[in-house]
C-alpha cells in the first residue's frame, strides 16, 4: 500500500509499505504491522501497533539502520499519522462504542441504498462530529465529513474502489483507495492498495516486539 501526501495537485511525499493486521478477541482488539518499503532510506522500518479494548494503544518501532526497536508511548488518537491528514483514529479502526449514532437520512442511488449518519462522541467535552455516508451494498462508509465544534467543515474523506473479498464464505467489501482532504489548508492524503488480501492466516507471534528485532 502507499501513503501519498499532496498539496493541491502536487505530490510532496510518498511512502510505500506492507501492511498486515490480525483481529483478536480478547483485551486486544487488533494488532497491525506496517513495514516501509519506500523511500529507500526508510526501507525495512517497521511499526507495530496493538489496539486495546479500552482504547489504549501500544506501539513499537524498529529502525533497520540502528537494528534496534523501541517501544513508543501512545500518541493521541487525534494526532496526525505520519504527517498525513489521517489521524490514528482514522486508520486504527474506530471503536464504535465511543460514539453515538443518529440516522439522518436514507436515500437511493440507482440500486444502492445510501445512509447518512451523524456520529458524535460520547465524551461530552468533545463537540466535533462527523457525517458518514454509508453504502448499504458495501456496508462501509464511502464518504465522511469532519466538523469541528463551530460546525465548520474541517476535513472530508472519500472511500473508493470497493472490491469484494471472500472471507470465511462471506463476501466483504473493502476499498482500494481512501483519501482525506483538509479543506482549510488544501492538503490531501491518500491511502492506496495495490494488492489486498483478507482471511489469510497470520501468526500472532509475528506481531510481537521480539519479532521486530529478528532480521529476515
Amino acid at each position: 500500500m502507499a501513503l501519498v501526501l499532496m498539496e493541491g495537485t502536487t505530490v510532496v511525499a510518498e511512502r510505500k509499505m506492507k501492511f498486515r493486521s490480525i483481529e483478536i478477541d480478547n483485551d486486544i482488539l487488533n494488532k497491525s504491522l506496517f513495514e516501509f518499503t519506500q523511500p529507500a532510506d526508510v526501507k525495512g522500518t517497521k511499526l507495530l501497533s496493538w489496539l486495546h479494548k479500552k482504547d489504549e494503544k501500544s506501539q513499537w518501532i524498529y529502525l533497520p539502520s540502528l537494528n534496534k526497536s523501541r517501544r513508543i508511548l501512545a500518541s493521541s488518537q487525534n494526532s496526525s499519522f505520519m504527517g498525513s491528514e489521517f489521524t490514528y483514529d482514522d486508520i486504527g479502526g474506530q471503536n464504535t462504542s465511543k460514539y453515538n449514532y443518529k440516522l439522518l437520512s436514507e436515500s437511493k442511488r440507482g440500486v444502492d441504498v445510501i445512509w447518512k449518519l451523524e456520529q458524535t462522541s460520547k465524551d461530552s467535552n468533545i463537540k466535533d462530529y462527523q457525517i458518514i455516508t454509508i453504502n448499504k451494498s458495501f456496508m462501509n462508509p464511502e464518504a465522511v465529513e469532519y466538523y469541528n465544534s463551530k460546525k465548520e467543515l474541517v476535513k472530508s474523506s472519500k472511500i473508493e474502489d470497493f472490491t469484494s473479498y471472500k472471507v470465511n464464505g462471506k463476501n466483504i467489501f473493502r476499498p482500494k483507495k481512501i483519501s482525506m482532504k483538509n479543506v482549510q489548508n488544501n492538503k490531501e492524503s491518500l491511502f492506496q492498495w495495490e494488492k489486498r488480501e483478507f482471511g489469510t492466516k497470520q501468526k500472532e507471534s509475528d506481531f510481537t516486539a521480539q519479532a521486530l528485532d529478528v532480521k529476515k
Partner: protein, 778 residues
C-alpha cells in the same frame, strides 16, 4: 518693460479670472467631483509586505519561505506571573484560553507549554509528547509541576521559547494562515482584534498573572492603530492651529474659511487620486492629509494675505486680486514645482511606502495649486464688495495703483544696516556651524528595527521589553537552508556541516540560542539509545536520520513540519540574538551567511524581519540620491526664475544649509536615520525653497525697477518678511504637531521638519540678505 513669458502667463490667467470667474470655479469643483468618488475604494496595507515592491528578490525569497513553512506572522500571548507559571492556578485558565484561541478561524497552528514537545525515555520506551497534558492538570501534584518546570527548562524547544529561565513567563504562539492563498486571505488586523478580545475576557481568570500580546502580527495591528490614532488625535489639532495662525496672518475670518474650504477640497482630491492610483493607506500615506494641509497653507497665505493687505488699504477688490496674483502667480507655480520635485525624487520602488507617499504628495501638491488658482480668485471676487469704483486699463483689466506697499520703516532700515555691518560675521558663523554639523552628521546611523517604530508610551514597547528581559534575546532571525534536492535535508554530510556552522556561530556572544533540525535529531538519537548522553550527536547515516524523522512524525509531525519542508529540500534555521541595532543585525546575518558558505551550505536570510531591515541600505541611498536630484532640479528652477547662474546658486545656499544643520541636530537628539527621515530632507528642501523663491522674485523685480540692493532688501523686510515668517510659522507648527505622534517615524519627521523649516526662515532672514549684500560689494 518687455513682458516675459511668466508675465504673459499671469496676465492670461487674470483675463480668464475676470472674464469667466464662474467657469474657473466650476473647473475646480469638477476636479473634485471627478476624483472624490474614488475615495470609498481606498484600501489599506500595513503589513511588512507593503514596505517592498512585489517583484523584489527579497520578497520572492520570503514567499519561498512562506510556501514551505507557512506565514511567519505570529501573535504571542504572554502570561507573566511573578510567582511562577508552572502551577495549577496559571495553567488551568491558560488551557481554557488556548482552547478559545485555537478555535479562531485564522489560527493555523498554536504552540504552547502544553504541546511544546519533549522527547524522553520512560522505562526504555520513547515518548514524544507535550510537556504537560492539559487534560490532566487537575490531577497533578505540586511536585509534578516542579518536575515539569525542571524538564521544560532542560528542553531546548521550551526553555527561552515557551518558558522563561525563571519560569515566571510562558508564551502562547499563534501562527496565522499563509497570505499566499488568495481564498484564505487573512485580515491580520481583525484576527489580532479577536485575539485581544479573547485575551481581555480571560484576564480575570488569571488573578496573579498579567496577559500581554506581542508578535509580528500584533506589531502590524499596532502600526495601523497608532497611525489611525495619530491622525485622529493630531489632525484636528493641526486644523485648529492652522485656522488660528491663518487668522493671525490674514486678520480676516473669510480668508480663514476660504483656506479651510480649499484645503478640504484638496485633501479630497488627493484621496481620490490615491484610490485611482491604487496606492493603499499605510503607515506613511496615512500622513497625506496632514502634509498636504500644511503645504497648501503656505501658498494660500501668500495669495490671500497679499489680497487682503491691498484690499484693506484701497477697498478695491478687483485690483487687490490683480495685485496679489501678479506678485504670487508665478512664485506659487514655481514653489509648487519645487515642492513636487522634492517629493517625486523620493519615488524609489525599493522603499514602497516612501515611493507611494512621494508620488501622492508630488501629484497632490500640484493639485493644491490648481485648487488655489481655480477656487480662491473667484471666491474672493464674489465674497468681497468692490468699495471703490474701478477703471479698466488698456488690456481690459481693472487698473491697479502702483505699488501701494508699506513705506520702508525705520526698523527695516536699521535691520538692513545691521546685516550690512555684520555680513561677514554672519557668513563665518554660518560656515562654522556647517562644519560642526557635517562632522556630527557623519556619525549618524541607519535604524530600521521594526520593533522600534513606536514611542515609549505605546503598550507594545513595554511588552517587548518584558520579552527581552525574560527571554534574554530580543530578535529571532529566520534563515532558509536550500539543500538543492528532494530529501537533501536527510543527508548526513550536509547535517554535519550544519552542525559545524551551529558551533561556529556561538563565537558571537550576541547569539543567545538557535533552533534547527539537528537539535531534534541529536535528542532522538540520545533517547533511542536509552538516554545515553554520549549519543547526543548526529547518527552515522542518512538512513538513520530518515528513520528518526519518520519516528518523530508518528507522534509529533508539527515539530518536523516547522523545521523541514515537506519534500525535505529546505530546512529552517532560527537564530535568537540580543542585537537590536539594525545595521549590526544586518552585519550579523551576513556573517552567518558567509560562515555557511565556508561550510558549503546555501543558507540565506528570510522572514519578515530581515526583509524590513534590508531596507537600511535603500534608506541610506534614497536620502543621498533624492537630496542630490532635488537640489539639481530645484537649482534649475531657480535659474529659470532669475536667469542668472550666480544668483541661482546663491539662492540655494539658505536652503541647503538648514538641511546640514538639521543633520547635526539629529545627531544631538540621537535620532537614527529611518524611513521617516528619508522624507524630511526632500520635503524640507522643497518647502524651504518656497520662501527663497518669493524673496528672490521680489528682489530681482525691485532691482530691475532701479532699486539698490539695500532699498530692495528694506522693501522685502517690510512687505515680505511678515508673510515669510507667518507661512513658516504655520508650516513649522503644522509639521511640529506630528512630533506628538506615537508612530516614531512620524514623530521624527515632525520634529525635524519643524526644526529645519525654522532654521530655513532664519537663513532667509539673515543669511540670504548677508550673501546678497556681499555679492553687491563685489
Amino acid at each position: 518693460m518687455k513682458q516675459t513669458f511668466s508675465d504673459r502667463l499671469t496676465e492670461k490667467y487674470l483675463h480668464f479670472l475676470f472674464k469667466h470667474p464662474l467657469r474657473l470655479f466650476v473647473t475646480g469643483i469638477c476636479f473634485m467631483v471627478i476624483l472624490t468618488p474614488g475615495i470609498p475604494f481606498l484600501t489599506s496595507d500595513f503589513s511588512f509586505r507593503s514596505y517592498t515592491h512585489p517583484e523584489s528578490p527579497k520578497l520572492i525569497s520570503y514567499d519561498l519561505y512562506e510556501k514551505n513553512f507557512g506565514n511567519d506572522d505570529n501573535v504571542m500571548v504572554i502570561v507573566n506571573n511573578p510567582q511562577g507559571v508552572m502551577n495549577r492556578e496559571t495553567l488551568i485558565p491558560l488551557r481554557e484560553l488556548e482552547k478559545e484561541l485555537n478555535n479562531l478561524p485564522g489560527t493555523r497552528r498554536l504552540e504552547s507549554i502544553f504541546n511544546g514537545s519533549v522527547i524522553h525515555s520512560t522505562n526504555d520506551a520513547i515518548e514524544i509528547k507535550g510537556l504537560i497534558s492539559s487534560t490532566e492538570l487537575e490531577k497533578y501534584s505540586e511536585s509534578d509541576f516542579l518536575n515539569f518546570k525542571n524538564e521544560g527548562l532542560k528542553s531546548p524547544n521550551i526553555h527561552s521559547i515557551l518558558l522563561s529561565s525563571d519560569a515566571t513567563v510562558t508564551v502562547l504562539y499563534l501562527f496565522l494562515r499563509p497570505t499566499l492563498q488568495q481564498n484564505q486571505q487573512l485580515e491580520i488586523y481583525h484576527y489580532t482584534q479577536e485575539v485581544e478580545k479573547i485575551v481581555s475576557a480571560h484576564q480575570k481568570n488569571f488573578p496573579n498573572a498579567q496577559l500581554k500580546i506581542f508578535g509580528s502580527a500584533y506589531i502590524s495591528k499596532s502600526l495601523i492603530e497608532v497611525s489611525k490614532n495619530d491622525q485622529l488625535r493630531l489632525g484636528p489639532i493641526i486644523l485648529l492651529l492652522f485656522a488660528l495662525v491663518s487668522f493671525i496672518a490674514l486678520r480676516n475670518i473669510n480668508g480663514v474659511l476660504i483656506s479651510v474650504f480649499v484645503i478640504i477640497c484638496n485633501i479630497l482630491c488627493c484621496l481620490g487620486i490615491q484610490s485611482y492610483l491604487k496606492i493603499p493607506i499605510n503607515s506613511f500615506t496615512s500622513a497625506l492629509g496632514i502634509i498636504i494641509t500644511t503645504i497648501t497653507t503656505g501658498a494660500l497665505i501668500h495669495i490671500i494675505a497679499g489680497y487682503y493687505r491691498y484690499y484693506r488699504r484701497t477697498g478695491d477688490s478687483k485690483a487687490a486680486l490683480i495685485h496679489t496674483y501678479r506678485m504670487n502667480f508665478i512664485p506659487t507655480l514655481l514653489t509648487t514645482l519645487t515642492t513636487s520635485v522634492g517629493f517625486i525624487c523620493l519615488a524609489n520602488k525599493d522603499l514602497m511606502p516612501v515611493y507611494q507617499l512621494g508620488i501622492l504628495l508630488g501629484i497632490g501638491n500640484a493639485f493644491s495649486w490648481i485648487m488655489i488658482i481655480t477656487l480662491v480668485g473667484p471666491i474672493l471676487n464674489f465674497l468681497n464688495k468692490q468699495k471703490t469704483p474701478y477703471k479698466l486699463d488698456a488690456s481690459g483689466l481693472p487698473e491697479t495703483l502702483s505699488e501701494p506697499h508699506k513705506k520702508d520703516s525705520e526698523f527695516s532700515i536699521r535691520y538692513v544696516n545691521y546685516i550690512g555691518k555684520h555680513k561677514f560675521k554672519i557668513i563665518n558663523l554660518m560656515i562654522f556651524l556647517c562644519a560642526i554639523s557635517i562632522i556630527a552628521a557623519t556619525q549618524l546611523e541607519v535604524s530600521m528595527n521594526p520593533f522600534k517604530q513606536f514611542s515609549d508610551n505605546v503598550p507594545i514597547v513595554k511588552t517587548q521589553q518584558l520579552v527581552k528581559d525574560k527571554f534574554t534575546h530580543s530578535m529571532a532571525i529566520e534563515f532558509l537552508l536550500d539543500t538543492g534536492k528532494v530529501d537533501g535535508a536527510k543527508d548526513i554530510n550536509l547535517l554535519n556541516r550544519l552542525l559545524k556552522l551551529e558551533e561556529l556561530i556561538y563565537s558571537d556572544k550576541r547569539v543567545h540560542k538557535h533552533v534547527s533540525i539537528t537539535e531534534v535529531i541529536k535528542e532522538i538519537n540520545k533517547i533511542f539509545n536509552s538516554g545515553n548522553q554520549s549519543f547526543y550527536k548526529l547518527p552515522e547515516s542518512s538512513e538513520a536520520v530518515a528513520q528518526y524523522l519518520l519516528l518523530i512524525s508518528l507522534s509529533d509531525n508539527g515539530k518536523i513540519k516547522n523545521l523541514m519542508s515537506n519534500e525535505g529540500r529546505y530546512l529552517k534555521f532560527t537564530l535568537f540574538t540580543t542585537e537590536e541595532n539594525s545595521n549590526k543585525l544586518l552585519e550579523q546575518m551576513t556573517w552567518v551567511e558567509d560562515l555557511a558558505k565556508e561550510q558549503n551550505l546555501n543558507l540565506f536570510r528570510t522572514g519578515k524581519v530581515p526583509l524590513f531591515m534590508s531596507l537600511t541600505e535603500v534608506v541610506f541611498n534614497l536620502i543621498g540620491s533624492s537630496a542630490i536630484i532635488s537640489m539639481l532640479l530645484i537649482g534649475f528652477i531657480m535659474y529659470l526664475l532669475v536667469r542668472n547662474t550666480k544668483l541661482a546658486l546663491i539662492s540655494m545656499i539658505p536652503n541647503v544649509i538648514p538641511l546640514i544643520y538639521g543633520a547635526g541636530i539629529m545627531y544631538l537628539l540621537s535620532y537614527g536615520i529611518d524611513i521617516g527621515i528619508t522624507l524630511v530632507f526632500s520635503v524640507c528642501l522643497g518647502i524651504a525653497v518656497d520662501d527663497t523663491i518669493h524673496f528672490i522674485h521680489h528682489y530681482t523685480h525691485l532691482i530691475q525697477k532701479g532699486k539698490t540692493p539695500e532699498e530692495a532688501l528694506q522693501n522685502i523686510v517690510v512687505n515680505l518678511f511678515p508673510t515669510i515668517i507667518s507661512t513658516t510659522l504655520i508650516l513649522s507648527v503644522g509639521f511640529g504637531v506630528l512630533s506628538f505622534a506615537d508612530f516614531l517615524p512620524n514623530h521624527k519627521f515632525g520634529v525635524m521638519t519643524g526644526v529645519i523649516l525654522t532654521l530655513a526662515v532664519f537663513a532667509d532672514l539673515f543669511m540670504l540678505p548677508a550673501i546678497l549684500l556681499i555679492k553687491k560689494t563685489k
